[in-house]
Subunit: 133 residues, 2 copies
Amino acid sequence: MKKINKNFLKDSHFITELKLCNIRLIDNSKFPWIILVPKRKNTTDISELSSKDQILLMKEIVYASKIMKKTFKAFNLNVEKIGNIVSQLHIHIIARSQKDSSWPLSVWVVKKKIYFREGLSKTIKKLKKNFGV
Amino acid sequence: MKKINKNFLKDSHFITELKLCNIRLIDNSKFPWIILVPKRKNTTDISELSSKDQILLMKEIVYASKIMKKTFKAFNLNVEKIGNIVSQLHIHIIARSQKDSSWPLSVWVVKKKIYFREGLSKTIKKLKKNFGV
């Protein structure tokens, strides 16, 4: 299992471990936002995963999507593999609301705002519960 | 098969049809950019596809990713399901270069620039060739 990138450790919080991916909450109180980080070495693109892992990734995206939708009553989900800055493969799943700070634009057009301590622990708790941790 | 959304028709050009998705080139000369549009009615989220279609979507994302990488010698690929404005399910695949106009930021932070006629037909031709059309 590849060591997790330092940026992830700094900007996100561990929620749970699935078969392929670790799930982490991104520390940005503007959007309920998780990342799925496949536990595979030297992988920057989905196409570099084995076929089996690609299917597993799709299953875990769908599983996590349903939990994000339910947990945050999301109007829409953004599911994104970017990786321009941190190249280690990771998939963003962001619960969007029509009232959030960048709707209907991308989350990338606004600056992040980290959680206050209480909001952070509440969000982590809620997510862990719904991921069955 | 669902009629294709009007915005897609206006802002993109047909490249080819795969088993699940139509592939269209986005008319933005700043980035080599395609969308995959699953030929399924009333679908806005990946999780609404059948399990079979989810796997097919992953396969077509990987297939199209490899072609985008090769065709445009991409340094990195951004693969994104957004759908805040056009809700009909579609996946963006964008070939990124370290010299493009928003690197390393998201493509969503810069305004689009439509192709000149010649550049457009060249890009369509190149893509069709590599998709085996």
